[in-house]
């Protein structure tokens, strides 16, 4: 089991490894910045930068034990090449971006829960 979802919160599969706790905290704390950059790339239609950013997030999320975040970033990464040729995929991209924000919120909530438990 790689992921635990309790009341919709998401925690890393490495949550029980104290050695990673600082790094996990840094990763989760950095999510708002990643989301801010994502929105800026979408607003500017900078699809290259968005694709690269989502690829990085896909890999980093997998590394840090957040497979759902990784999959959601992958959905956006894979939509980026389509949007160049078909502007109508913009709605799909917006939905995936909302989904990513939601996943990030649940991860942040999971981090708060863990901190409270400690």
């Amino acid at each position: 089991m790689y992921q635990t979802t309790v009341d919709n919160i998401i925690v890393s599969k490495y949550k029980d490894h104290p050695v990673y706790s600082d790094l996990l905290h840094d990763f989760v704390s950095g999510l708002p910045n990643r989301l801010h950059d994502m929105q800026a790339y979408i607003d500017e239609h900078d699809w290259d930068a968005l694709g690269k950013q989502m690829h990085q997030l896909r890999g980093a999320a997998a590394t840090y034990g957040f497979p759902l975040l990784s999959e959601t970033a992958a959905q956006i990464e894979e939509t980026v090449p389509l949007i160049r040729s078909d502007e109508s995929t913009g709605d799909q991209l917006a939905a995936y971006a909302d989904n990513l924000r939601d996943v990030c919120r649940r991860i942040e909530a999971g981090a708060v829960t863990l901190t409270t438990e400690i």
Partner: protein, 476 residues
């Protein structure tokens, strides 16, 4: 943290948070982990250290990680390369494996599984001294059957368990690092750590900390205590490659280490006892360096307790057919080719040439020929494409090549058209080499002046000379 040392890793990934995780996780598992965020940084590490395994990310932002694979395979053939990516693509995995990668790892793999996979490929079975046959030497990268080669193997057998400092002398490309590794692998220290440090490639200000370690707060970036390589290799073997390029200030400190067998980390007053077996290697004439005041005489005598001369390839030409066969087999496997052994006339050409770049030059020539040939035969124009002729001291080779009426690599000035036909990485390397040659020509081979004009450290220039098989003497 694991007490068992499992090897030195280089992780190449552009995402710093991903790197931080792998560094922590794999350090905990017992690896010494270095990080690079792009291909240039990767090349710097590979030139400086002997790395057991590289975890190479496929997507490095603006670069494709796979572009670094040929470099790793060619410049660090002893490193195992694992392609690291967010998602598994079968097509890419097959390409990577066919082009020299050892394995393919997705980023959701647990660190302990990655560590086990690396171990599986890097922990060679122990070689028992009594089993030492020519095949065993071949397995650790030493290939030959000439009398000169047999004598060298006998000397290695004789020295394998001698703890005295050994000085490996020989031209560039003769395989000094392979010899040092062999000495370690056949010794009674074989289960302990082997490290190689390139004294020419590490900036002076970093070298001291690398060797002796440092205490937290010893300098601005010293945020934690760090053990030096001498201490980490205390029961193993440490190769000081290009010892002739070690700065004089550090030579004095190394002399103290060799005399007293203790190291004192930077910022500490407490010496630490070590039992490290030291092997040093250089292509320079150390006697001349001593006479010119560039190398300490006392250190020279301390290092050369047991000097071991590694013969150039031209003195063991009988080994060329065996080496060629071995390299063709290796590259057939790596590039999924079925290249035939060279024809008799081509072998005569290979034997007629003096190979000033030694085994490295021969290996690179075979690799190039295997890659470039369109069918199953290698041809002379591919093998000798790299030669920059004619030079005064190369007239004989120039004549031999001219005799074949084969096209040569264009001189730098005529490279302009061809450079645009090359992949970006190769084009950058081609330019770098031409640029360096041009500066060295202008400065008459003066390294200080060259480094000043290039805006790089002297050590960087030496590293580039090594990378491109250039010799300053050619420009003087």
């Amino acid at each position: 943290m694991s007490n068992v040392y499992r090897g030195r890793l280089l992780i190449v990934d552009d995402d710093r948070q991903t790197c931080a995780f792998w560094k922590l996780a794999l350090s905990e598992a017992g690896f010494l982990v270095d990080l690079a965020h792009n291909l240039d940084e990767m090349k710097d590490y590979v030139s400086r250290y002997s790395i057991d395994a590289v975890l190479l990310d496929l997507n490095l932002g603006h670069e494709n990680g796979l572009d670094g694979l040929p470099y790793l395979v060619s410049k660090s053939p002893l490193s195992k390369v694992f392609v690291l990516t967010a998602h598994a693509s079968l097509e890419t995995a097959i390409w990577a494996l066919q082009n020299g990668a050892t394995g393919y790892i997705t980023k959701d793999t647990a660190p302990e599984e990655i560590a086990a996979q690396i171990d599986k490929h890097t922990q060679a079975p122990e070689i028992l001294p009594s089993d030492l046959k020519s095949e065993e030497f071949a397995r650790v990268g030493m290939i030959g059957n000439s009398k000169v080669f047999q004598e060298l193997c006998s000397r290695l057998e004789q020295l394998k368990n001698v703890d005295s400092t050994i000085l490996l002398l020989g031209e560039s490309g003769t395989g000094k690092e392979v010899i040092a590794r062999t000495l370690h692998k056949i010794s009674n220290r074989s289960t302990e750590r082997f490290e190689a440090i390139n004294c020419a490639a590490i900036p002076e200000n970093l070298l001291e900390s690398e060797l002796f370690g440092h205490k937290r707060g010893a300098f601005t970036d010293a945020k934690v205590d760090r053990k030096g390589i001498l201490e980490l290799c205390s029961k193993g073997t440490l190769l000081f490659d290009e010892i002739g390029d070690m700065p004089l200030s550090l030579q004095a400190k190394l002399l103290r280490v060799l005399q007293e067998r203790v190291v004192t980390p930077v910022g500490s007053a407490t010496p630490i006892k070590i039992q490290t077996r030291i092997i040093a290697a250089t292509h320079r004439d150390l006697v001349e360096e001593v006479q010119n005041g560039r190398f300490r005489e006392d250190l020279f005598y301390r290092l050369s307790v047991v000097p071991l001369y590694i013969p150039p390839l031209r003195h063991r030409k009988e080994d060329i057919p065996l080496l060629v066969e071995s390299f063709i087999n290796e590259f057939n496997l790596r590039f999924n080719r079925t290249i035939n052994p060279p024809s008799e006339s081509l072998m005569r050409r290979l034997l007629a040439y003096d190979w000033p770049g030694n085994i490295r030059e021969l290996r690179n020539a075979i690799e190039r020929a295997v890659v470039l040939t369109q069918d199953d035969s290698i041809r002379v124009e591919h093998l000798f494409q790299h030669l920059h002729l004619p030079k005064e001291n190369n007239k004989r080779q120039a004549a031999a090549v001219e005799e074949q009426k084969q096209p040569l690599t264009p001189e730098p000035s005529s490279m302009d058209d061809k450079i645009f036909q090359l992949p970006l990485t190769e084009a950058k390397q081609a330019f770098e080499k031409i640029y360096l040659e041009s500066l060295l020509n202008e400065t008459g081979g003066n390294i200080s002046e060259t480094s000043k004009r290039a805006g790089r450290y002297r050590a960087d220039i030496y590293r580039l000379l090594e990378r491109y098989d250039l010799h300053v003497e050619q420009f003087r």
